[in-house]
Amino acid sequence: MNALTSMMLLPLLGSLLIAVIPNDQVLRIKQAALGTTLLIAISGVMAWFKFDAGNTSLQFVQISQWIPSFGINYAVGVDGLALVLILMSVLLAPIVVLAGWNESEGGRWSVKVFYILILVLETMMIGVFAATDIFLFYVFFEAMLIPVYFLIGGFGSGERAAAAVKFLLYSLFGGLLMLASIIGLYVIAGKHGGHTFDVGQLSELHKFMSPTTQNLLFLGFFIAFAIKAPVWPLHTWLPDAAAAATPGTSVLLLGVLDKVGTFGMIRFCLALFPDASKTFTPIILVLAVISIVYGAFLAIGARDIKRLIAYTSISHFGFITMGIFAMTSQGHSGATLYMFNHGFSTAALFLVAGWMISRRGSSTISDFGGLQRVTPVMAWSFFIAGMSSLALPGLSSFVSEFLVLVGTYTRYPVAAVIATFGIVLAALYILIPVQKALHGPTTPGNENLTDLNLREKIAIAPVIAVIVALGFYPAPLLNVINPASAHVIASQGFTDPVPSESAGK
């Protein structure tokens, strides 16, 4: 069977398996979930090795008719970009399961429901990156909201219901705009060579569109992705959702789901509407830069540790968006790599933050203090995750962030310069919570916190390992990403700016 399809089926099978385990066998359920996600992760890694990086065309392609009347196919396939994101998703899933071993308890519903939702979500996550049929993509794009909605609302904390609704409404609104654009595309495709949703064929379609049409359709897609990503000023759902969700859910939400936004920008906005992309690039860059700075400032001002992480993500997504629309190979590869890295560094931050919160029973940063002395391993994990978040050289996110900056600078120096100020703000928004939570005297209420147990250590170790390893040696990913990025850039009719003062001039 097709590698992607089987990866999508595995979680469903897993959830069926979990469904038949009796409710009271909680441990069994958890083990089944972990086993399933591990199995998927393994198959993801195997796909990774089978992937031919040099080949820029889609791989692991499977196309079967779904709704032939509308030209809708079940079409999956990956290029470097999608593969990297799928790999990230499947690697994070078992970590989330393992890290959030007890998250599933104490929710509104049974443990079983939690893991079924997680597994269904995993299917959707793989599908959304693998789909090469826009309709299929849309189906996954929208359908994946539902499990997340229930994960937030059913297992979260605090204002979980409100946050879940906000998340869902925001996303649905964006999704509906995208639906309008998809319909537009579909109709235009029907007028020029027949109804189809194949991304490849649709990317030829812009030649037939008037600039206005193209701009409108582009906006439909872009706003949907900008909500997902989230780009300022469409971000306000994220802090609420992240604060309310369980850490594991937050990891999947920020680490994977939100990547759909930036992924979509590359895969759809750019590929389908090259002219409109060019038209809107200045505006988008401005929004991206605002996101970077704004997210950073709000992170600095955040009192709640989960909200803080959410705001840092807004800042990071600003970088990714900027890299995408910089239209240079560095910016693009950097953005893609950033997506992967952000997944892991945010995962680390959220997981550790989650452990801190569950031990302390509070997510307010000032409730912590002096953790470094009480729980050194946890503190260190948080610190390393934080360092990754502020893009310390030697950790993975540095490579991507710097690539984005360099790539942007070569074409849009002003944007890059303003964005670079973000790195100072990043130091602040990481070091302030580090100081408050990890340093200083051990504040009352924190004396008896326990350090990470073996399970938690096993969960966090691979994340940190990835963060460190990719910081020093990002080549395995870059080798896969570069051809895909170069392909996008080239298909947009862009070439990297030539150094203005090059010796060869």
Partner: protein, 630 residues
């Protein structure tokens, strides 16, 4: 160019130490410090081996490179994880590993009572590795990794005792201000890539020959910003004083001998840029001149021995930056001062640590006095360092500082006179405040309580101090003998054609310098040795003193200009996000709900009004269709 396969061990060994110590945790408490020290020492060994190899090769083949792997390779942006060891970097390598090892040894004893000594050594090893990467990286980006790596290590070490909130804050401040500088380095790299298409030293050097002045000036200025951050130069100097929160060996190693001099390294390393960008170069000397005065002035008012030394460090690095800004004539002298400073300042810091060790961690010099008797070895080593720093021949500082002052005078025109005079004034003030330190600590009357029991430090501590003292005495002479260092570095920084018409002859400069020193020393002795000193800092002091005690208001300035507005902006944005951005979204929701509530009132429950609605609908429909068809 020669390649080597062993450069990586320089970095790998201490990095291994850091990794092992951090991962092993408490299990390595017993032997961790030994391992770290051994690894640092073996890295020094590798350095010596490399030096011997280098010496064995002809001048033009002395630089060696090692490409580890292709690090970042996207489009035309190709950065290898590559190391470069040339005449310049070997100086640093030996300084870092040598002094570093000594400080490791010192710390074994100094930190012996700290339950987290292992972690301390891990950080030290981490620092050594990062610093070596900084000086060994063959491109700006590799340098950047080390650059931030040392920043991290510095952060960790300053905040080593972060259970004290003030120390935690100090470490954060250091990191953030360093990041501001790092931003400059980022900009420099971005500009370099955008304009020159490369970020490796060799590539940039090659491209710099043909590149426009504007581009190079921009890069140069940005590199200077980076240097000011890392080297605590004006205007990013404020963190260094607070950085003294770290254990004293840290201050000695990082905040005196090595890390803070990275800025100098960066400028000297980028000599090809600055040489081609006079404006940037001018800014460099201005920064150097301002800082050397600034640091010196602050140094006169500090009662905390470490802070006084820190101010002195700032000032001395000002000299180095000044030297580095003077072009090919000054590069070698800047490096020379850097090396000699590395010895004497490290020695003095260790001495200060020794004093604190003997005085129950008391750092206020007004509570010292007459320690000469109780700590003779410390007094001797500290004294030698003192003589070196104020520039008394034949101690090391004399040679290096004198050379910079001389070069400054000879920079030509008014600029030369201004720079030279500033440097000279700085020398006088240096002499004053260092003498003040010396007198207050060792020779003046006892001002400590009787329950203090000052005592000499153990062998493990004083031995490194002694070795460094030897260095303070000898290095200047060694480096200048036959212009050894100048010649050694010339393949890297370029030859300086001896000027024809010098403003002042060397001997005149030396004379003036000595005179200035003598004046400074004399005033200090009068003021502190020969008159009574309060054990508690007096408050009825001049405005100048008050300002100087407050580091010339640097913190007040930062607070007023950056921190407060920043905080205000943050809280404004937080509120704005809740009320305006999110408020708009919620507003839309409320509007829809409100519209729904209003519109549902049309549903009055009266069938007749429904009928009216239908009737009106029919009218509108007919009228509408009619209008459309007309």
């Amino acid at each position: 160019m020669t390649t080597s396969t062993s450069l990586v061990y320089l970095i790998a060994l201490p990095l291994l130490g850091a990794t092992v110590l951090l991962l092993a945790g408490r299990r390595s408490d017993k032997w961790g410090h030994l391992l770290a020290t051994a690894l640092s020492a073996s890295s020094f060994g590798v350095g010596l081996y490399q030096l011997s190899q280098m010496l064995a090769r002809p001048t033009e083949e002395r630089a060696v490179t090692q490409k580890l792997f292709s690090w970042i390779n996207v489009g035309t942006f190709n950065v290898d994880a590559g190391l470069l060891l040339d005449q310049l970097s070997i100086c640093f390598v030996l300084l870092i590993t040598g002094v570093g090892t000594l400080i490791h040894i010192y710390s074994i004893s100094y930190m012996s009572h700290d339950e987290n000594r292992r972690r301390f050594f891990a950080y030290l090893n981490l620092f050594i590795a990062a610093m070596l990467l900084l000086v060994l990286g063959d491109s700006y980006l590799n340098l950047y990794v080390g650059w931030e790596g040392v920043g991290l290590a510095s952060y960790l070490l300053i905040g080593f005792w972060n259970q004290k909130p003030a120390y935690a804050t100090a470490s954060k401040k250091a990191f953030v201000m360093n990041r501001v500088g790092d931003m400059g380095l980022s900009f420099a790299i971005m500009i370099a890539f955008a304009t020159l298409g490369t970020v490796s030293f060799s590539g940039v050097e090659e491209a710099s020959h043909t590149a426009s002045k504007a581009a190079l000036t921009a890069i140069g200025i940005m590199l200077l910003v980076a240097a000011t951050g890392k080297s605590a130069q004006f205007p990013l100097q404020a963190w260094l004083g607070d950085a003294m929160a770290g254990p004293t060996p840290v201050s000695a190693l990082i905040h005196a001998a090595t890390m803070v001099t990275a800025g100098v390294y960066l400028i000297v390393r980028s000599n090809f840029i600055f040489d081609a960008a006079p404006t940037a170069q001018l800014l460099v000397v201005i920064v150097g001149a301002i800082t050397l005065t600034f640091g010196a002035l602050v140094g006169t008012a500090k009662d905390d021995i470490k802070k006084a030394l820190a101010a002195s460090t700032m000032s001395q690095i000002g000299y180095m930056i000044l030297g580095a800004g003077l072009g090919p004539a000054g590069y070698a002298f800047a490096i020379m001062h850097l090396l000699t400073h590395g010895f004497f300042k490290a020695g003095m810091f260790l001495g200060a640590g020794s004093v604190m060790h003997g005085m129950n961690d008391q750092v206020d010099m007004r509570r010292y006095g007459a320690l000469r008797k109780f700590m003779p070895i410390t007094f001797a080593t500290f004294g030698l360092g003192y003589l070196a720093i104020i520039g008394v021949p034949p101690f090391a500082g004399f040679y290096s500082k004198d050379a910079i002052i001389e070069t400054a005078f000879n920079a030509g025109g008014v600029k030369g006179i201004l720079l030279g005079s500033t440097a000279l004034l700085g020398a006088a003030i240096t002499a004053f405040y260092m003498t003040r330190v010396m007198v207050l600590t060792f020779t003046s009357k006892q001002r400590w309580e009787d329950n203090q029991h000052p005592h000499e430090s153990p062998l493990l501590m004083w031995a490194p101090m002694a070795i460094l003292a030897v260095g303070s005495v000898t290095t200047g002479f060694l480096f200048t003998r036959g212009d050894a260092l100048v010649h050694w570095l010339s393949p890297v920084v370029g030859e300086h054609a001896e000027g024809e018409n010098l403003l002042l002859q060397p001997i005149v400069v030396s004379g003036l310098a000595l005179l200035a020193v003598a004046i400074g020393v004399a005033i200090a002795i009068m003021k502190y040795q020969l008159s009574e000193v309060d054990a508690i800092a007096p408050h009825d002091v001049s405005v100048f003193t008050r300002i100087a005690r407050k580091d010339l208001l640097q913190d007040s300035f930062n607070e007023a200009v950056f921190m407060r507005p920043g905080q205000a902006l943050t809280s404004l944005l937080v509120k704005g996000d809740q009320n305006v951005v999110d408020g708009a979204v919620r507003g839309i929701g409320r509007t829809a709900l409100g519209a729904g509530s209003v519109l549902r009132k049309t549903q009055t429950g009266f069938a007749r009004s429904y009928a009216a609605l239908i009737l009106i609908g029919a009218i509108v429909l007919i009228a509408g269709i009619w209008v459309v068809t007309q």
